[in-house]
Symmetry: C2
Subunit: 210 residues, 2 copies
């Protein structure tokens, strides 16, 4: 699909057809597409927990303001942002460094420099860890919503949930923040969506041009 | 451009042609396209400072590890994430509520509920403010990189800068976090990019499927 169509046709869909499942093949494809998103030092600090059974979705729905879409959507993602995804010794950080060396993007002797740079940029203060994790997870989640739409699948990014209760219920470790849930499925064609919401203009977005 | 092409052809470009400017019309178009990104309660807590003159880009480059691309790219964005973009009385929060009412998405009597929900989800702890700001700015920045590529323009998201020094140098108020800088321009065709970097597989991204 043309990107402009993907951009304009993507809507946060409130009503999913509970009888129309999304094939696993498409779920995999959209995740693999979104994995192409860029990230800080290519660290890719994003993960997903996928819920498909009615029981698991109801467990989540109870902690998500009881929103019907959480159980009506055939698939729900708990999106995770790894706040430690820059630390020395983290398996993916070390894998990333090895892959960078293999690809010629870094040199073996830059290992210490690389870890120190990560520590300085992402680990110096808790707000930096949080920014690192959530910004990059934001890149991934945005790419995921576009990839879904490209494959004809609708999504709804959700903030209305009890963050700490979801962490506890699904035994999500403290290193992860949960920046959003995402309902995934097909729009229920018997319902009507409101027109697209207003957006900030260029002049509302650009504070200064120097 | 087909979304799959946008996705696969978007690269973090290290080398920009300093002699090839990006027309203002295209800058405006990519920003207006990216503005279609979704956000928490449609609050759109993202802003940009645009740098185009050599003097301004050099001011930034000095605080960004002296990376040549900061001054070689014809345009650089300082991307901003508003950590107070959910607060009662914030002009855009109040505008958003009025627009939601006008569009039938909320009712006038939900004003208090809306502000309380924002306070609970985004204002209860500093880490929530930071997550709110940076996740949504991540959505916007990802959409901006795709929109640029769709328009034939290259980008490079950058973390290598002194956050607090940039804030001070450009008089950016405390409510904003700077999740990234973004160089914008055209790839210098005399240079060669390394092949695309490795990405996590489906199995590395999905922690559990329930």
């Amino acid at each position: 699909m043309d990107f402009k169509d993907v951009l304009l046709k993507r809507r946060a869909v409130n009503f999913f057809d509970p009888k129309k499942p999304v094939p696993d093949k498409l779920i995999k494809e959209m995740i693999e597409m979104a994995a192409q998103a860029p990230s800080s030092f290519n660290l890719q600090p994003w993960s997903l927990i996928i819920l498909k059974t009615p029981e698991e979705k109801m467990r989540l729905r109870k902690l998500a303001w009881n929103q019907p879409k959480v159980s009506e959507a055939p698939v729900v993602f708990i999106c995770l942002a790894d706040r430690t995804g820059w630390e020395k010794g983290h398996p993916l950080v070390e894998k990333n460094f090895r892959e960078m060396v293999k690809a010629g993007a870094m040199k073996e002797e830059q290992h210490e420099w690389f870890l120190n740079a990560c520590q300085g940029l992402y680990g110096a203060r808790p707000e930096m860890e949080q920014a690192f994790a959530c910004k990059n997870a934001g890149f991934f989640a945005m790419a995921l919503m576009f990839a879904a739409k490209h494959l004809g699948v609708d999504t709804h990014p959700m903030d209305g949930f009890d963050h700490d209760a979801v962490r506890k219920e699904f035994q999500i470790s403290e290193n992860y923040w949960i920046p959003l849930l995402m309902a995934v499925g097909y729009f229920d064609g018997t319902k009507t969506l409101l027109p697209p919401k207003w957006r900030k203009t260029y002049d509302e977005i650009v504070l200064k041009s120097l």
